[in-house]
Amino acid sequence: MVQKAFEIGNSVALTIPKVAGIKPGSKVEFSQEGSKLIYRLLEHKFPSLEMRRIEETSGAINLDINPNFLSKIIKNLKENPYDREARLS
């Protein structure tokens, strides 16, 4: 695979298209030709079964909603008369 690279100081930054299928934790070997970085995938670090289970049991509710608006909804729900009054304060 050949990919354009951008050097920043001692680091090299690049964007990898999703179709390359490289996941976080993947190990790659690379070399450079001019401004191009050539990398070869050595191994995928697949998440463990436990980590996959965490993903599978998260996020049942995926709404198209602004996170700030969501926070406001939750805050309003918690400021109901029961929650305001049900304290000995």
Partner: protein, 147 residues
């Protein structure tokens, strides 16, 4: 050796199931840490009162009165929580002395009844950690909030 136990509070469970929640990714990170550090996770049926209440509120705001869709989404969220690996539901039974103790906790820490019951259940089960985004639990002596 004492078991390392952590109680999953309502705010944690809600954040874990609503993908646009500000703490959604945080719940996954914390669950990974619980696994790595061999914490056992537990919760109680009492948290589902607020869990369902908040999810219903969010979903009604977004979906109106689409009863079937709302039911299906809440069912999936509930199944997800109940399927969390190693989750243990702790016994909610409190006797007369236990209930009066809950009232004392409410008075001492200015907690809501539900939160005071959670603290009492945790004390009974010798659970010292609570995974919660609710700062109210910070003032409870002997309880450490993980967030």
């Amino acid at each position: 050796m004492t078991e390392k136990l952590v109680f999953l509070d309502t705010s944690f469970l809600i954040a874990s199931q609503v993908s646009k929640h500000e703490f959604f990714e945080r719940t996954k990170y914390l669950r990974r840490n619980f696994l790595l550090k061999q914490y056992k996770i537990c919760t109680s049926s009492i948290v589902f009162d607020e869990f369902w209440y908040v999810l219903l509120g969010i979903l009604k705001t977004q979906l109106g009165n689409d009863r079937n869709t709302i039911y299906n989404l809440i069912q999936k969220a509930t199944e997800n929580v109940l399927s969390m690996d190693g989750l243990n539901l702790i016994n909610i039974d409190l006797n007369q002395k236990g209930l009066l103790s809950v009232l004392k906790i409410m008075y001492r820490f200015k907690l809501r009844p539900r939160d005071a019951i959670i603290i009492k259940l945790m004390k009974n089960a010798k659970i010292k950690h609570i995974a919660s985004f609710d700062k109210d639990f910070d003032k409870i002596s002997g309880i450490l909030r993980i967030y």
